[in-house]
Point group: C2
Amino acid sequence: MKTVTVNLGERSYPIFIGQNLLGNPELIQPYVQGKQVMIVSNETVSPLYLEKILPAFQGLNIEAVILPDGEQYKTLDVLNQVFDGLLSEKFDRQATLVALGGGVVGDMTGFAAACYQRGVNFIQIPTTLLAQVDSSVGGKTGVNHALGKNMIGAFHQPQCVVIDTDTLNTLPDRELSAGFAEVIKYGLIDDIAFLQWLENNVTLLLKRDADALNYAIARSCQSKARIVSLDEKESGVRALLNLGHTFGHAIETSMGYGTYLHGEAIAIGMVLAARLSATMGWLSNEDVVRVARLIKRFQLPTTIPANMTPADMWQRMQVDKKVRDGKVRLVLMQKLGLSLLTDQYDPALLQKTLQVGQQEIAT
Amino acid sequence: MKTVTVNLGERSYPIFIGQNLLGNPELIQPYVQGKQVMIVSNETVSPLYLEKILPAFQGLNIEAVILPDGEQYKTLDVLNQVFDGLLSEKFDRQATLVALGGGVVGDMTGFAAACYQRGVNFIQIPTTLLAQVDSSVGGKTGVNHALGKNMIGAFHQPQCVVIDTDTLNTLPDRELSAGFAEVIKYGLIDDIAFLQWLENNVTLLLKRDADALNYAIARSCQSKARIVSLDEKESGVRALLNLGHTFGHAIETSMGYGTYLHGEAIAIGMVLAARLSATMGWLSNEDVVRVARLIKRFQLPTTIPANMTPADMWQRMQVDKKVRDGKVRLVLMQKLGLSLLTDQYDPALLQKTLQVGQQEIAT
């Protein structure tokens, strides 16, 4: 087992990464403060893992709320089911919520913990690659709104994150691939060596080789933990973690939540960011091809959906948490492995990028 | 104009108290960070004061969301109307929300500000006595749930609080009285001199004498500011501000939100707290009579509603944010002007208090 620490003073916490961790009370119970544990999961994950984690909470008062599965259910309305469960079981301020599932379950459980009685503890047990390498770490919680993704939420850090890589054995191929979009992201932000390592290990990773997966997850978590420790509330460097996300969120909201997996939309967004960076003269065309090729090798899409217009794309990009004074700020790449947040791009080149965004890049 | 400061380090802010403050841009604009201002008000208050506050935000991009009026609308569902407005107008993270109204508007606007894009600024402009002396100060924000009051929320401090006492001229008598319940509370918690002052000034206050009102409001705000500065997140002394509230919330949820005004329910709750404190031997019967008499003189109820059973009362009291390990902790009075949070009361005496709670106290 590896341990990565997110350093945030009083709010610091460990990320445990390894096999066979799920039902381990010695590992997990030290992070439960009171006697009441509410496990929040979904219809897909709970039949697979709910019973397996129960031993971790033995001796405590355990309840569970099972949500429907999918990004389209990440709403205030569905969130209320968690509050219904907590209140009908008389959970108090010493309660601990446990998120057992992917990014949607983690974001919603964290937000429920942030708001229930104005804040209770929670533990992240992510069961998808995407949640393990990204959304379970860093304390961003929230729900979607019809007009914008993750627009309602809170910064609320978990007590610990338990990544049992055995859970990836039951993950559908499509979701595994989606997770790799966020893994690739860490390479593009500031870790060219990791990008190269990924290029050399695509086959092993897609075969779910345990050692390769463990390495990719741990390195991603180290990256994320370092950036979050520097900038918890995203006043600066943390915004780089949104590489591809302004484009991607526009695709997710336009197509309807759940049509494209989050990682798939982000994959397309990273290609668009690379293309715009190239028109700005920062990346070479070879760099763009290299990004697109790696993304394709992970079975991920690289082009804007055929039924989205550039105008729709642009309209939706303007509802983004990084907008300031009406300007859409974007994470672009100065070179591969060096990203930056900027509004100093040419709007005409952005429009051009959106216009060619449905065309395949020959790789 | 008086200024009271809430000392919370980086999150410190002023409370301005005086007449004719509403439309003053010199006073208010320094607390607006960006260019976007969303005023949140309700159907009752907006016709009276919305136009009057507009000059305070001249030169900025002003929008407004008008909510239905009443505690029964303090829900996640209605909160979503604020998010709809913010997103459809493309408000960004530099936006400032302005709460113009009573406690419900203030609590909901503050919670919307806490959650929108994971946190934006807000300003409190309370227009009811209750909001001016209590709910607008201290950063408690949130909404109700069918199973419990204020169960979903956040601690989120405003940039400033603007109390224009002229707004009380349009406040219905019943709501003015309800506000005095929270004013009396400060006397009972730790300020016996203020309790005496209130006893001597009931007539002036109910006549809305400007000087008397200003004094009562400022003294209440000083009390609240001092307690909040000591204990922002309610790990200790701040709980004393909940005197009467565990009883009162039970009445509010049982009767249906809005049937009893919050202050009316709290008035009954304070009488019950006094009665239980007397059975514990802490207060004399004369003390209880003194509390009930003052509350009655302010035109407030003192007895449990006729159609509530002690069992219903007790059932609902167990859903309270002060419950710990299944024990309902209560704010009681060791003597008048000295309250404490305790679970060291005799449960049998509590049940007895609930059983006699529908009987008038002869004053």
